[in-house]
């Protein structure tokens, strides 16, 4: 019996310890890759060891009493119950320890609060449930969505190494550059957090917050939204990719070219087939999570698009819903999240896929018109 129990026990234990071995164990804060994150880590360790030391002293006395002053060992209770000097001492000593802790903590905090002389400004906006990054002087603007496939979340596919911590577009930042992060939110309060940078700051709708960082090592650093922001709070990761400044310049150029290409794409005319091909990709990436890959939706929260009166009805209303969302529902406004060509393509796709054969194609130029309000040119920004 005994041995069986022990083997079962150790088997269970080994299951616990070995199971999921593909992911590395972490027990502690990361020292991170910035000067600030290292001082935060050192502060954390210092206070931790102080606590351990106090704990060892207090608990040793306690357990010494538990072993030696037990009645079963014939211990007789002493009669002392007050000692002013001792009480004063054990009030003053902790006070001294606290002062000793407060000094480095204050120094680190002051360093964190100095965002001056930043060389790059990035605006970070929290949306339910994604992040938007705007490089303010570089005119680059994009959304960063969770890219973990639904099948992995619903356990239908093997989970990859960066499960839930991967996004479609990284926030690319240069190393050895002081970067100011300006945080706000579009709807509810979010909190932008990257442990390796020791930056966590709330993004609050209607308010602007700031933080700064200077990354010392190139690499990919992952974090998550830290403030409960609704249903998919657990599904809006942050991924920062730090690259050397030269590489960053190259990335900027590529990203700008990509943006220009998207704008140019909206200007030319598209065939129905082109729109359908592009539309299917956009649909699967952006819409399928709720409306399902085959357009059947998950009523009542996410209506079916197959035979939907919106999709088969007036095209202007369909466009309006995709661009501006439906207030008070899960349907978001996609006007800022997708390019004009992508919007046109996905609307076209919805109107022609899964037996919705309206045969109508929405021209990207029509979307451009709507986005700009009847043909106003886009020149007033950023001069």
């Amino acid at each position: 019996m005994g041995t069986i129990r022990i083997t079962t026990c150790s088997f269970m234990l080994s299951l616990l310890l070995v199971g999921n071995a593909q992911a590395a164990w972490t027990l502690n804060l990361t020292p991170g890759v910035t000067e600030i994150s290292r001082s935060v880590y050192n502060l954390h360790m210092t206070i931790f060891w102080i606590c351990v030391a106090i704990g060892v002293v207090v608990f040793s006395i306690m357990f010494w009493s538990i072993f030696h002053h037990r009645k079963s060992r014939g211990a007789k209770a002493h009669n002392f119950h007050e000692h002013t000097l001792v009480e004063v001492i054990w009030t003053l000593i902790p006070l001294g320890i606290l002062v000793a802790m407060a000094v480095p903590a204050t120094a680190t905090l002051i360093k964190m609060y100095d965002p001056s002389d930043a060389e790059l400004d990035v605006q970070i906006t929290g949306y339910q449930w994604k992040w938007r990054y705007q490089y303010l002087d570089q005119e680059i603007d994009f959304f960063s969505n969770l890219s973990t496939p639904r099948e992995q979340i619903s356990n239908e596919a093997q989970k990859q190494a960066h499960y839930l911590l991967e996004v479609d577009r990284h926030l690319v930042l240069p190393t050895d550059t002081k970067i100011r992060l300006l945080l706000t939110a579009n709807d509810v309060i979010h909190s932008w957090w990257v442990p390796a940078l020791a930056v966590k700051k709330d993004a609050i709708p209607g308010f602007i917050n700031e933080a700064w960082t200077r990354i010392e090592e190139p690499g990919i650093y992952r974090g998550q939204c830290a403030e409960l922001c609704g249903v998919d709070h657990g599904f809006m990761p942050v991924v920062v990719e730090a690259v050397p400044p030269a590489e960053f310049e190259q990335w900027l150029a590529d990203a700008r070219a990509q943006q220009d290409a998207a704008a140019a794409a909206a200007g030319r005319s598209w065939t129905l087939e082109e729109l359908m091909t592009e539309g299917e990709q956009v649909y699967q990436r952006v819409c399928a999570a709720c409306h399902q890959p085959n357009g059947t939706g998950m009523p009542p929260a996410f209506p079916a698009l197959v035979n939907s009166p919106v999709v088969l009805g007036d095209v202007e209303r369909h466009i309006d819903i995709v661009l501006n969302g439906v207030q008070g529902s899960a349907m978001q406004a996609f006007r800022e999240q997708l390019s004009a060509a992508e919007l046109a393509a996905v609307i076209t796709y919805e109107r022609n896929a899964w037996g919705n054969n309206t045969g109508e194609a929405v021209a990207p130029s029509r979307i451009v018109q709507l986005l700009q309000g009847d043909g106003q040119s886009e020149q007033e920004g950023g001069q």
């Binding site: 308010f207 406004a333 709507l370 309000g373 950023g382």
Partner: protein
Amino acid sequence: MDRIDANRRLVKRLLLGAVLMFGFGFALVPLYDVFCEVTGLNGKITNTGPVAVTQADTSREVQVRMLGINNEGMPWRFVPRESLIVVNPGEMRQTAFMAMNPTAQQMVAQAIPSVSPGEAAQYLHKVNCFCFNAQTLAGGEQVEMPLLFTIDADLPAHIRQITLSYTLFDISPAATATTDAGAQQGGSPI
């Protein structure tokens, strides 16, 4: 019977205490505003209206980053005319935000300002600002919304960069409900 009297007196006092604390909860709202004004806790700008003309401090420059942000469901195009402005403390500066309503309907918006770092809020004076009033734009209409501001010459030396953001909220449903009463003045002047 003494005890009953004593109880009654005590209960009255404690109930009064509870009622006062309920009131205190509400009093925290104005108290918070006062507190914010003093400490710049939430980056709200409380200095508005005309200011005395002062000598510009040309010995130093402050970068002011302008941000135009749309809150959820706000389809307007809303951008600062200049994204980055370099000013001398004490200098009066005129700038503007461009707003355009791309929809077909008339809409009413309220711009909410915020300053970072919060400490700088008390040194930023807005002499005239579009955010004082709600803004109504007809469908397709475009306006330039002026902003006249100055940064106090007393701005602490360590603040060299300030961010001034405006978040545009769609208040059309609320404003149209009270259209007759002059919805243009719907927002509070902050």
